[in-house]
Symmetry: D2
């Protein structure tokens, strides 16, 4: 990345950007309070770092050795407060702010009635954002693929229900985009665009979704190391979209014999990722454990580990859910979970809680 | 699946298919020499198996418990010779036939000159099919993404080179499709459409590629078990496309410390998969090991394990290759590898070799 | 297992035990308040279940399908309170009781001075049990193997230091036994016998250690599933020793690229194991993460997940520690960690905390 | 390691060794044809490399950065022919020689009759070494643990059968040692001492076994990387025992869903390990796949990958075997496997085969 001098002129900045484009690369420009910083995007082998160091207005050229640069804390310190997450605002909700955020709702939208009932329940239980799967990624073509997969008309109708439920209960809404053909349609209806674990490596999908300029919720692939996870978040940032919410949802289990949890929830990844990036990290205790009876404990553990929020599946009749019926909790259980999590968070961040209270009084 | 009586009429078959469609499902119809078999495609929970058993012309309704049904040996026995692979013909080449097939070429197409030089060399060395990466999936947005990623015009030009090289040296050509937006374009130029390991779970991409009615080369994801691998091949078969070439290319390595191979080549998966499906399985010793000095040994081992072919990266100057320079071999090394593999195959299939020889004499 | 009638006579019980021995098996006898229960130990194929069902005094014979039976909740309900952990008393400390237990100390004992200084510090910080490695399992024969490995005399001297430090600061002590030859010696000096992760599968060592009739701390192997973990704990229980403390310490990491934590801490295993067994489960946040800067967060998370205690490495000068210098925390950091953990535990168990307080008042 | 000058005197060599001992380390001395080489064994941090470089008779001091030094090719080139394996002679058999070696026999010795019948059959089928498990490592204390586990007398009797069977059918014999208490006894009866996969990390057992000065067959742990595997072989070499046969037997499987092979056979590890060490590597296709129907293919693949031999479980009635009944093959199948393997080996080593033939004529 190129750090410009404090008194660099707009002309000088423009010149640097043009030089970058001349090489077939793209430029990521941060205009900070005091100085501008310009990041390179694209094939690194082509960059004549020495040449850039001699351009007018350039203070220094810094090489970031990791494959993730634009999302790194090192880069972020030029435009984000260094000790905090990026604050991503969606409607009346701030992800990465002083309080953890709870995303809740059905694994799959099954009907308008089911969605509205669950939406009302999770709102009452304290959730901030409504989730609802419309295009479901499934291991078998012989399983229910979500209402959105039936046809275009049904997809639109279901997306509209989600939009209406969000509006009615004052929650931003999020749903998963499974393929490039769904991007335009989904982006018209929802507030946060989710990339599921299986699509984490799909750089073309990431790029297309990023360009919608809406917050993106990126789930870690179950076979991905942390370096890869951040390197694929970089594909989104490379489109100028820094509103990325990272989500840990479990990695492949190790060991022989019966599996007691569906995946291995890698909670230490939460603080480990936080040290590397300014992007907020949330946790999905539902898919990772695959067990309703572990959601409460692992939610509390996730918040204690430092998660910025949780994504939890809720159903009023878990056993009857069309998808992943073994992991959904009821809204009563959600309320208990949210209450415990908020108390743990408060206990671990006494000052943040205080600030929040004050801010509420003022509001 | 529904097994029709030998004397079932076309009317009866049509009635069964209509009943299936009425439920919102699709039907896969096999008209065998003696009888017809109809497979269900779609959400299994909806199927009233008992109802179908009573329809006129139906002999019996068989439930296949595995998530892969259309690609299973059990289903295949109605239209494939039970003890062999499906024979997939592409131009003058048969994959799954009596001899192993060698797919070779550069990891990434770098220039017309590079492609044509390598194409000529691999043809001379004994390769049957030409590979060349045009859209490269990469872990970093800051790495070379393939010539196809530069712009539409460059993509078309590079695809055209590949087509021309295939025609000039009489080899069918294969390249990877990384995203849905590339499907139409790539299918216009190449003979086999490759889905890379990272996209194996991308069911929307699989479906779109399958509909092109060209052979599909599906690589196993590095985090996928065999059941999942076959379940995603099923997405292709569900579109009526059974020309699927499976490719083992290494799974995630286990254990602490320095990695000596890039991935763990799971060769026992080759005969294990063969027991489950009629689809031919090939092996990629280049990506799996990531080491030029292991390609010869692991190629021989793959053929000994029963692979129907190999996919090998070749470059005249491996150290200078733009992508994966540590794993490409030279065409001289390819020739040695192919020779050894053919001799091992002959040794293990004395009859097949004989048949082939006879057929050659006749030809 | 055999459930005896409430009014079964001692003679009848003895008869059943003799029948078991006659088959070359061993019997595990639980004399509960109301009835006796007898478990089989040994080769299952030999058991004529029907025969035992007909013996006088036998109420019923129950087959436990899992490989772990003696340590299962199902078996434990006959002698343990069903909703709690087994309470393991060591000196003045109760593991599995109403409050989490903190085991702390140096990774390796380096000198008497170092040990006593750290012992005093961790006691002050709130630790209950003192740890100190004397025989260190190491991946390289060219690394420091612990003072105990120098010679027999040095081993005894070092064990004596540990004993003295425990006595002086009123903490039970624990150290790892790496091989069978060390069992007798170590058992003479310490209160809890530790089996390290690498020895978890060493059934001969487990058996020999179990026979010392002292509490055993069994660490989960980094490649072991939960079923295997409990099946090897069963080897200890089969010797009549039920004072087993299970310890989750991280499993093999998954994924390519730089590793950000040394192992993957599998926190969901804590509540998952709790559902299966009455044995208490503790967590080692030091070895699992290998990172000093993650110990606080992961300790809090472990307690929130339901751990019965923690095992933490402490050094006054972490960078200078002879073994695992990157993961030790200072005693100041330990104090903060213990304080936060106790508050989280209290918050999650309001009643337990209350009971404890009352009990303290009485005391 | 210290490379002495060609004309270094015995006095100078002795002086260097004494200096090493003075530091509390041990010395490994290689007296080659032309010069002597001395390796350090023990805690590396203590070595003043510069000091040793100035001692009389010392040519140079070379640091080997890897944790395995004594078993490395780099060290081996001073006493082994650089392009070959170490040749380990046991009775009339040479492991690591010009032909692959086949170790075969029952998973577990069940009776004298069973053992002798299988011994005769595998000899006739072409096996060179007889295997027979007497102390079986098992995941459950409720499974058959081998005849050796019944009592001392039965252990001796069974070991004696193995010895007699080996003598009668002129095959060296190998059996697994599971714990330190068995080392002296087993070493009295068998020719090769096996350390099973689960005990690979058991450095005290490795050391004790190594001191018996008999060849050691060391199996790779299913969670161990190659670096760890070689680092634990180093514990054996550190006792002056270089007769180590390494055995790849499968690592933990990856991926969700039904497992089609018991472990993942890591065949690329064979040539990869060969590049690192002069020790011969063999393969166990029985335990790794856990499937009788895959043994033939994976045996051929192992030889093609460069394995120096195979270890195969054989039973005349596989379904009735007391342990691992799903993976044993019959002796007829063994014969076919050995024949195919020998032909593949000959095909891949035309010169070696020729030499062998000549040598046979001379003999």
């Amino acid at each position: 990345m190129i750090i410009m001098k404090k008194d660099a002129t707009l002309e000088q900045i423009t010149h640097v950007i043009e030089e970058i484009k001349r090489l077939g690369l793209r430029a990521d420009v941060i205009q900070g309070e005091y100085r501008s910083v310009i990041g390179f995007i694209g094939d690194e082998r082509k960059i004549p770092f020495d040449h850039f160091a001699t351009l007018p207005g350039v203070k220094e050229v810094v090489r970031v050795e990791r494959p993730y640069k634009l999302v790194s804390r090192e880069y972020g310190k030029f435009f984000e407060s260094p000790h905090k997450y990026r604050r991503i605002k969606v409607g009346n909700v701030t992800i990465g702010g002083s309080e953890p955020i709870f995303i809740a709702g059905p694994c799959a939208v099954e009907s308008k009635k089911q969605l509205f009932r669950i939406a009302e329940e999770v709102k009452t239980a304290g959730a901030h954002i409504l989730r609802g799967g419309i295009f479901k990624p499934r291991s078998s073509v012989h399983s229910f693929q979500g209402l959105g997969a039936i046809n275009q008309k049904k997809a639109e109708e279901t997306l509209n229900w989600l939009r209406q439920a969000g509006d009615m209960f004052q929650m931003p809404v999020v749903t998963e985009i499974r393929g490039e053909a769904q991007v335009d349609l989904v982006a018209d209806y929802v507030d946060i665009l989710q990339i599921g674990a299986r699509n984490m490596y799909d750089q073309d999908l990431l790029t297309k979704v990023a360009r919608k300029k809406k917050p993106v919720l990126l789930k870690r692939h179950f076979g991905a190391g942390i370096e890869e996870f951040l390197s694929f978040a970089e594909y989104i940032a490379a489109e100028g979209n820094r509103d990325i919410i990272l989500c840990e949802r479990g990695i492949l289990p190790i060991g022989k014999g019966k599996e007691y949890t569906r995946y291995t929830l890698d909670l230490a990844a939460v603080p480990a990722i936080q040290k590397e990036t300014y992007l907020p990290v949330i946790v999905d205790p539902s898919h990772s454990t695959g067990r309703r009876d572990l959601v409460f404990n692992m939610s509390c553990a996730a918040i204690a580990a430092g998660a910025a929020g949780l994504m939890i599946e809720v159903h009023y009749d878990p056993a009857e859910a069309l998808v992943d019926s073994q992991q959904a909790i009821t809204s009563d259980e959600l309320k208990d979970t949210i209450d415990a999590c908020l108390r743990i968070h408060k206990l671990m961040h006494p000052k943040a809680a205080k600030t929040k209270a004050t801010s509420d009084e003022k509001g």
